[in-house]
Amino acid sequence: MSAVLLPGGSGPILRLQDVGKVYATGSVEVEALRGVSIQVERGEYVAIMGPSGSGKSTLMHILGCLDVPTSGSYDLAGEDVSTMSEAALATVRNRQIGFVFQQFNLLASLPAWRNVELPLCYSGMGRAERKERAIRALERVGLGERVDHRPGELSGGQQQRVAVARALVTDPALILADEPTGNLDSHSSADVLGLFTELHDQGRTIVLITHERDVARSAQRIVRILDGQVDPAVPLPSGNVR
């Protein structure tokens, strides 16, 4: 298959500069991120790795435009999103980011294709086109035969594939996967990671967040987070570089 054409011009798809995040719970202030700077180029497959409590979840929320940094700047596909309003962030999430969550987060009452078309509903696309694109995305992840199945009728691996299809359907600038194999057995994990590798081969930009070294190895590059900072101790190129 040919490479996917991505929106925006050249330059990094994602650039974090000196990003800090402070949570204030009552009188206690928790510094979750301390001056994180990360740059991801177009078509890169990056794993962000760190133990629990390292601040990688906070980083994932900021990368996914689900939260805004307290300091520093964040450019996504050439746009500074660190100061955007909630409604504007919603639009950025809709257009630029495809999420894959640990818990799949599918709506149990809807068939697979309706789950996949959900992001398109919020971008105001017509019904016929939505369905067509949803089915195409499901075929892409190998679930062309199961478009009418509800999540309950699918295995864990298949459910995560539906979630990947949902992340793909808007042709986002970035696919952001948060512990995508955390709820899967080893077979399904390999299956889903294989899918990511395939998508990367097709030119997709993928950021995968995990605490498992084996999972992180499937990426092109690993960024280690420790105590809210990028850990420089680990050499950057790791695992199977392509």
């Binding site: 689900l66 939260d67 909630e86 409604a87 919603a90 987060n105 709506l107 992001p119 509903c121 105001g124």
Partner: protein, 409 residues
């Protein structure tokens, strides 16, 4: 997300929680049905009173004589003086003097004993003119009313009320029979149809004779042209007040009295209607108030279930937000869901109300009038309740931070 999508999403959410949605709607349903039925009962009762009063003659003005004042200064009350005469009746019947008065029926009454053979019955004997029949909106079951010629000739004819006829003749046919009134023998020429009782007199127990006959045979004070009441029929309901003005003016001038001290009173059926309906209205307001409270409780039920729904679907809300739903889209989704619950409850309530309106009269012996306005109004109220009950839960859902919503378990 456009409106069609939002509505579809809301309907799916309602359908996926069938039992709960049905129970929520039940609150609105009962409230709406109760409001419709109580208002319907009130309107039915009002319509009943209105019909009863209209039956006694529509467009009707009643002229009563003024009061007498005795030498010791005691005033006799309305109708105690005999200031009205046949001359007044003739004057008011003139289209020049009073163009808005269609017909005039002068009435003079007295309690008399009627005798047929050995049977006697005391009733109200009414001396009047042939116009009495249309003015009082009455009809005959058999025979005929007396004519202008019989009036002019003081004919010895009588028309009996149905009760009077039964009392005097039992089951026998009264037509053509002789009745003795105050020593004069009169021939029965007609029987009145039943009309029911007005507030003061039994309209079915009376004997009608020509006014001239009354003046010459019955009146004992030698006042052959005196009448006790004038019934005036206006040309239409709209001209009732014009007719009132004309009658008032004509009577003031013929009697030579000023408007400050009139010797007559003119009243209308309308004033009677107002009194009767206002009592019913009080009761309707009271009942509708109770029904409105049940509707309020139904609205609180919707709000409660929507709040539970927001808490329960916090992950779904988080996911939708992550996928690009703006706070506005989330707010709309929950608002549409709440108003759909309200509207569906309202629709079912209107249906139940319509069924109730058919069934209830059989148990209560009361008419229930349900108007289209009441039905549409009830639907509107149900929709508004749904929206109002949805505002708070919807804004809570819209305010949820996507990460908090996604994280919760």
């Amino acid at each position: 997300m456009n409106w069609r999508e939002t509505i579809r999403t809301a309907l799916e959410a309602i359908r996926s929680r069938r039992l709960r949605s049905a129970l929520t709607m039940l609150g609105i349903l009962i409230g709406i049905a109760a409001v419709m039925l109580t208002v319907g009962l009130g309107q039915g009762a009002q319509a009943q009173v209105r019909d009863q009063i209209n039956q006694l003659g529509s467009n009707l003005l009643i002229v009563s004589p003024g009061s007498t004042t005795s030498t010791s200064g005691i005033r006799g009350g309305r109708g105690s003086a005999s200031t009205l005469t046949m001359r007044d009746a003739v004057a008011l019947a003139s289209p020049v003097v009073a163009p808005d008065i269609a017909k005039v029926a002068p009435v003079v009454t007295g309690s008399q004993s009627l005798t047929v053979g050995t049977t006697n019955w005391t009733t109200n004997v009414v001396g009047t003119t042939p116009d009495w029949l249309p003015v009082r909106a009455r009809s005959l079951t058999e025979g005929r009313f007396f004519t202008q010629a019989e009036l002019n000739g003081s004919a010895s004819v009588v028309v009996l009320g149905s009760t009077t006829s039964t009392e005097l003749f039992g089951g026998r046919d009264a037509l053509g029979q002789a009745v003795s009134i105050n020593g004069s023998t009169m021939t029965v020429i007609g029987i009145l149809n039943t009309a029911g009782s007005s507030t003061t007199t039994d309209e079915d127990d009376q004997a009608l004779i020509p006014q001239t006959t009354y003046g010459s045979r019955i009146a004992n004070n030698g006042n052959a042209t005196g009448v006790s009441t004038l019934y005036l029929e206006a040309t239409s309901t709209d001209s009732l007040s014009a007719a009132y003005q004309e009658a008032n003016k004509a009577l003031l001038s013929t009697h030579g009295v000023t408007a400050a001290a009139p010797d007559f009173t003119i009243s209308s059926q309308q004033s009677l209607l107002t009194t009767a309906t206002s009592t019913d209205r009080t009761l309707t307001v009271l009942l509708a108030g109770i029904a409105a409270i049940s509707l309020l409780v139904g609205g609180i039920g919707v709000m409660n279930i929507m709040l539970v729904s927001v808490t329960e679907r916090i992950r779904e809300i988080g996911l939708r937000k992550a996928l690009g739903a703006t706070p506005r889209a989330i707010r709309q989704q929950f608002l549409v869901e709440a108003s759909t619950l309200g509207l569906c409850g309202g629709l079912l309530g209107v249906l139940l109300g319509l069924v109730g309106a058919q069934v209830l009269p059989h148990f209560l012996n009361q008419p229930v009038t349900i108007s289209a306005v009441a039905g549409i109004g009830a639907l509107g109220i149900a929709l508004i309740i749904g929206i109002v009950a949805g505002v708070y839960p919807a804004s809570r859902a819209a305010r949820l931070a996507p990460i908090d919503a996604l994280r919760s378990e």
